[in-house]
Structures are given as C-alpha cells and as structure tokens.
Symmetry: C2
Subunit: 368 residues, 2 copies
C-alpha cells in the first residue's frame, strides 16, 4: 500500500500567529481541496487583472464556490503603471458598494502587481480583512507573493505606500506558468537567481545546470526552483518580518534596479529585468570594493544573460541614477545603502562612496 | 525631603513589543523632558491642522528641536470632511518631496481627525514609520489617540480604510483643553460618559458628581477623567488589540451615531455629539430588549444632556438610519450588531430585530 501522493509541496512560513503555508504544485487552482482550511465567509472577492481573468478566474471561482454565499470578481488593468491609488480605490468602491464585511476573503489572482495592490486593499479595508495570494507569474510565485509586503506606487516613488500584511495562504499553481510570455519568465528567473549570491551558492549551481529545463518550463524543474526560492525567502522573512535588518538582503539588485525602472518610467522594463541588470551592477560595485573577484561577477552576469535578461543598463546618466537611488526605502539620512555580495552566498548591507557608484554606472550602462 | 513631583500621570498600554505610555498632565507640550525616550532621527514631521497650528505647533517644535536635524510641519484643513485620501496623499507628497526616510518620526498634533489621518500615514509610509499622538481635544485625549486605530473616510463610509497601528507614545497636555470650543468639550464628554455604562458605574457616579467641574475645565477634574478613561481603554485594548471581540464594546452609541453622522453628512454633527445621542438610542434599544430599566435610560439621558449634548436624533427616517447602519464595520453577513447594555456597567454585543430598531428610531428622533 502506498500513501496517497499529496498534490502539492508545502513550504511553511513561521511568523507565530501569522504563520501560513505556501502550496506549490500543478493543477492546484481548480481543485476544491486546495482551498481546505480557509475560513468560511459570506463573500469572497477575486481581484485579478484583465490578462489573467480570461485564463484562470473561472476555474478558481468554481473551486471556491462551495465555501461562500457569493464570489465577486474585479479585474484591474494589467501592468505596474496601474498599481496606484485609483485602482486601489476601485477595490474599496466595490467592497463597500457590495456591502462586504470584515470577514470577506480577498483572493489576489495574478502577478506581483495584483498581489501588491489586492494585499494592500486587504490590509486597509475596515482595518484588515483576510486574503489569499494566488500568484500566476514566476516572479510572484518565487518572491512577491511570499512574505507579506504589500504596496502601491506613489508618483515620487515605487512601493512607497503600503503595509506588511500576511496572507492566510499562498497557492502557486505551476500550470499558470505555461501561459506566461517569455519576457515574464525571464523576469521571474531574475528573482530566483538572486537567492544564490545572497544565501545559497549550491542553489546557484543548480540553476546554472537546470536553466535550459527552466526556460523549457519543465514542471519538475519549475517545482524545485519555486520551492527552494520560497524556502529561502520564508527563512529570511521568518527572522525579520518587518525588514529591520536581515530581510533587506532580499533587495539585492533592487537599488540599481529601482533607479532603472524609475528613470525609464515604470513599466518600460519589467521589474525582474531591472533587478537582473541591477544585480550585475551591485556585483560590480562589490568587486570594486574588494569583496568579490571578477570571475564571480562574470559568472553571475553570464547566468543572468542566459536567462534572457538585460545585463547592460540604460544610459540615463549617473546623476539620474543617483537621484532615484536616494529615495530608495533603504536610504537613511540621505545616505544610500546597498545590498552587496561579501562573498559568494553571503550578502552584506553597506554604503559606498558616490565616486565608486558613478564608476559602476559608467561601466555598466551603454546607449541602447 | 520630598520626592520631585512628576509632571505627568502615566497610563500604560500593554501590547507586548508594541506597548507604550500615555502621559497626562499640564504644560507637557513645551517641556523637553516630555519627549525623553523617543528615538533620535534625522527628521520629525509635525502634522497638525490650521486651527491648532497657531496655538501649539511652535511650542512643540521648540521642545523637540534638539532631538532632530530638522522639524518639518504640515497643517491640514480642519474637520472630519478633510479626513480623506487627498489629505492623506498630501502627507505622502511632503514626506517624499523632502526625502523622509524610514526612521522619520511623525507627530500627530490635533484632534481625532489629525490623529487618525497622520497615524494612517505613519502606518503606510514606506510600510510604517514611527509616530507619536499629541491629542489636543478632549475626545482625542480620552479615546481616539489611544489604542492604535487609524483611518480615513471613504465616500461610502466612515473610517472604512485604515490600519491598527500603535504610536510610540501619547502625550495628553491638559492645558490644550482650555482653548477648546464648548461644543468640542461636550463632544469629548460623550466618550468619557461612554465608559460608565459599558465597564465602570463607579466612574459614572464620579462623572455625575463632577460634571460641573469638568465643564468649568478644572485641571484636577480633567486630569482624573482623562486618566480613568485611558485606563479603561488601555485595559480593553490590551485584551483585544484588533477588535476580534471585546474591543467592540467601546463602540457603544457608535452604530446609531455613525448613522446620524452619515445621514446628515459628516461634520454637521460632531462625532461626539452623534455618539452622545447614539448612546441614548442604544440604551433605549437595550431597555426594549429587557436588559435595563427605564430608570437607567433616564439617568444616562440626563447626564448626556447636562454635558451639553443632543439627546434627540435628527429626523432622517428609519430607512435612512438602517441603510447607514448596515455598512457599519460591526455588521456581519448583512446583519447589524449593536453594543447594548446588559446591565449598568456591563456591555454586550448582539443583534436586534429590525422592527425594534425602527421603534427606537421613531421614539428617539424628532424634527429639529
């Protein structure tokens, strides 16, 4: 006799009374038992976007229909440019117009933008209603849906208005990755690659060896990559939920990356693309500070490039880069702080001389 | 030899790592030592309103100036109608334009509106910066500044978008009550009277006996009323920070009160005025359910009236009342839930038949 095979792998995120499970597997969205353990409520609201809605909203709604008296749906426009107050407000408008109470359960079905905005709506509506993350992009499955960061953008800065607010559960259905555009796959790979230099070079070795399988979207390779990424993220977040220290290492590549996104205008490069290129720049800065050698930088750059990501930054000019980096959330007292690689597999937070940062920008950015 | 007299009374609010002190006394605002124990930071931002600013902003800024490299100031328009997204956004605009980082300390100097909106801004800016409540109205000192409820209003409902977010400290300077308009004094008395029927009839007796002293703004009477109110609120919030149960009793009078505010348009009646009248209606509903007798209702009504508060509701029609009560945050599955008086000094949460609620509205509301 064999025990029944569980339809999913589970990674747990340990945050005392806010602990929850990340369920990873194929075909999870449409299974009724995926959603077992969620509280019953009168109303569920599926918040999604106009791209994901026709692909996956119906199966999710059918699978959860038995748990609620009604399941409402709201599709936001797709893209980072819409992670703003107006769309957040449209969620509140629906919830109030439909008389949704404090027990209403929100499902964030989509990528990082949907997860961030629906999660922030859940954090604020009536001072907090429960929500579930249902990430449908690789980036959201390995990074943004895990750990409770929610936010909207402000015209003067990305993710500047938000909350730490944990979901009840994360369900990563690997099948949704099969419909993902190649550019989005590459963007997700950037956040997977990230975990290597900062924490786990054994995982980095594995990614190097299995990149073709990941790009071919082989389910077993995807399952392991998502699982290991979530394990690392869960471990870090479990020690520092509100980013008072350690958690900041997850922002490797993000300081330069945010400057690229902000400088070009949000949405021109995908977040993951900017992070990919930002990691090359942060590694180069680490090298110039004597922390890692040129071989390591070249190896990281090669993997990022093989993943289909840009490794050369846009030519915005160093002043423009520095301007955007100074409003980064990690800055303190006007001083920029970078996540750098102290040694392969080990991150460190530190400042760097402006002159050195300018050198890195000059070396890493060319005209498109 | 006598020990030096402490310039303030302290009430502690016990919430594990989010615990903090409420300091109550005269002349606290302008004393440097009032602010001892706050973290040092590059920037402090005093958020206030255009009424309070000319009265108290300068002394606060002088007293805290030594702790920060710079102290910025933002005065919002005064009144409940301005507790909205546009004014919240104006706080974010300032913080970002001035390059305020994650350690920036916000001071909410004003009444409940300032405390709610500045507190919510602190909860959301960069996913949370520290803040201090400096309530300058009686209502804010005895109720809204304590316990971490922050929010803005939505066109479809009051306080519908917000967060539970605790301040680092509450400083209630009793001297600020000397400049309060009489109507605002009465509004604050409503929230003080509230604590009697729900928790402490000994305090209710004391208020009955000392109402003339409170109305005359005698410092000793004010100090005791603020202290005892904060003690009761701290005790309740310490047991149920996020209002999963017990804390809801603090909303005695608020279900009917919110309907009055919403029905007339926010700001026509002050919040405390609506709560005062709402308590009469909730007491009358309690009586019709057989929980308390007519003598108790009459006694409560008399005290509320003596405090200068309305005890007759506006003639909005029962349908209008019910409409607004159904979007109350305490409602579940479309069923209204009321904080009622089970016995003097003891509150209970329960639903009530619509017909009985309509009777109460008919009896308690007349044409102005």
């Amino acid at each position: 006799m064999q025990a029944p095979i569980s339809p999913f792998r589970t990674v747990s995120i340990a945050l005392a009374e806010r602990s929850y499970a990340i369920r990873i597997g194929s075909g999870l969205l449409g299974r009724v038992d995926t959603w077992a353990g969620l509280p019953k409520a009168t109303t569920a609201v599926v918040v999604t976007n106009t791209t994901v809605q026709p692909l996956y909203a119906a199966q999710l709604k059918t699978a959860i229909a038995g748990r609620f008296s009604r399941v409402l749906e709201l599709a936001l426009p797709d893209g980072e440019a819409h992670k703003d107050w107006a769309n957040l407000q449209s969620i509140f408008d629906l919830l109030l117009a439909q008389g949704c109470d404090r027990k209403t359960l929100l499902f964030a079905l989509g990528g990082g933008v949907v997860g961030d905005i629906a999660g922030f709506a859940a954090a604020c509506y009536m001072r907090g209603v429960p929500f579930v993350q249902v990430p449908t992009t690789l980036l959201a499955q390995v990074d943004s849906s895990v750990g409770g960061k929610t936010a909207i953008n402000h015209p003067l800065g990305k993710n500047m208005v938000g909350a730490f607010y944990q979901p009840l559960m994360v369900v990563a259905d690997l099948d949704t990755l099969q419909t993902l555009p190649p550019r989005e796959m590459s963007a997700g790979l950037a956040e997977i690659i990230k975990y290597g230099p900062i924490v786990d070079m054994v995982f980095f070795d594995w990614i190097e060896a299995n990149l073709p399988a990941l790009l071919a979207r082989q389910p077993e390779a995807l399952a392991y990559a998502v699982q290991r990424s979530c394990e690392i993220k869960a471990h870090v977040v479990g020690q520092d939920e509100r980013e008072s220290g350690l958690r900041a290492i997850l922002n490797f590549g993000h300081t330069f990356g945010h400057a690229i996104e902000a400088g070009l205008g949000f949405g021109v490069w995908l977040h993951g693309e900017a992070v990919g290129c930002g990691m090359v720049m942060a590694a180069e800065l680490s090298r110039r500070l004597g922390l890692v050698d040129a071989t390591f930088v070249a190896r990281l750059k090669q993997l990022i490039s093989r993943a289909g990501l840009p490794v050369v930054g846009p030519l915005l000019g160093a002043d423009e880069y520095l301007h955007h980096m100074r409003v980064d959330k990690k800055a303190e007292g006007g001083e920029m702080r970078f996540v750098l690689i102290n040694a392969p597999g080990q991150a460190v937070m530190r400042s760097a001389p402006d002159a050195l940062v300018r050198e890195v920008i000059d070396v890493c950015c060319h005209a498109g």
